[in-house]
Structures are given as C-alpha cells and as structure tokens.
Symmetry: C2
Subunit: 93 residues, 2 copies
C-alpha cells in the first residue's frame, strides 16, 4: 500500500508542448504498482491539451467543472463531474 497525499504534492504549470492555455498539474507521477500514473490536472477556462496519444491509453475522471472531449475526426462530447472518459492505446484525442 502506498498513499500519495495532496498535502505533499507540488503543483506546476503544464508544459507548453502538451497544452494550449494555462493548465496546472501535479508535479510528480504517483506511479507505483499497479503500474499507472495518476495526475490531477486543472484547466483554466479555454485551456486544452494538444492532440496526443498514450501508448497504454488513458482514463479521465472529471472531479469538477465542465469540459469537452474529442477523439480526432469524431464528435465533440460534453463532459462533467463524475464522467469517465476512456482513450484506447494510441487513440489520438
């Protein structure tokens, strides 16, 4: 068992290669077994990720706020608190 507390975690600006607009995120991956990294990411209004993929896929859980998600070439979907978004490995979004 490993507990990663927000009390010890540093927040930094999301890198420009990854995001357009202002984004704040946990500085360190909490990666452990099971082998997955968990990050809290805060988007200021209008901020978004650039198009990207993940070799292992990604799961988003919306804690608060409202936003838009899109797989490249498909419909934009509105997302809100409690919603879960799955991106398959290598799926550009």
């Amino acid at each position: 068992m490993k507990v990663v507390s927000t009390r010890n975690s540093e927040i930094r600006r999301g890198p420009e290669e990854w995001f357009t607009g202002v984004v704040w995120m946990d500085a360190a991956s909490a990666g452990s077994s099971p082998d997955a990294g968990i990050f809290r990411v805060f988007f200021e209004p209008g901020a978004r990720t650039n198009w990207h993929t993940h070799p292992e896929g990604q799961i988003l859980y919306v804690v608060t706020g409202e936003g838009l998600a899109q797989k490249e070439g498909e419909q934009v979907v509105e997302i809100g608190p409690g919603d879960v978004v799955y991106f398959a490995p290598a799926e550009r979004h």
Copy 2:
C-alpha cells in the same frame, strides 16, 4: 474514446460479501480499453470494505470525505480529498 456518464449510471447497494455497513456504488463496470474498471463508491459513516485483494491491484482516488486505509498487518493511514492510494496485486487490505 468512450464516455461513461454518471447521468446514465445506476447506483446500487454494495454486496454484503464485500462490505460491512452501508455502501453505495456504481452498478456497472465502465471497463473498456485500457482494461480497467472504474467505480464510484460512497461509504456511509462507519462502513468499510472487508479484507480483500485484487489480482491486478487497485488505485483509490478520494473525491470527498475522510477515511482510513490499511494494508493487513501494517499501520492505519488517514486519507482525505485528493489522496491516491495504491494497492499492489494480491496485497490484502
């Protein structure tokens, strides 16, 4: 991309084999690629999981409230909003 909205999800009582006390959880696994199930679980005061393990491990993200986590035989740890708890595969907790 697959979006699982809380608006469409049914909430049911957690089964007695798994929990002591009253627990509410999402009825259906949102399992998709990447191959992981995500559940929202609400513990009424005093409710807890019974001792158990997961073949693939488990990650908890505390959205709200306060609670206690423990690996069998080790120290009890207080957890709260934003905390992430990792349980390794087969780790009894």
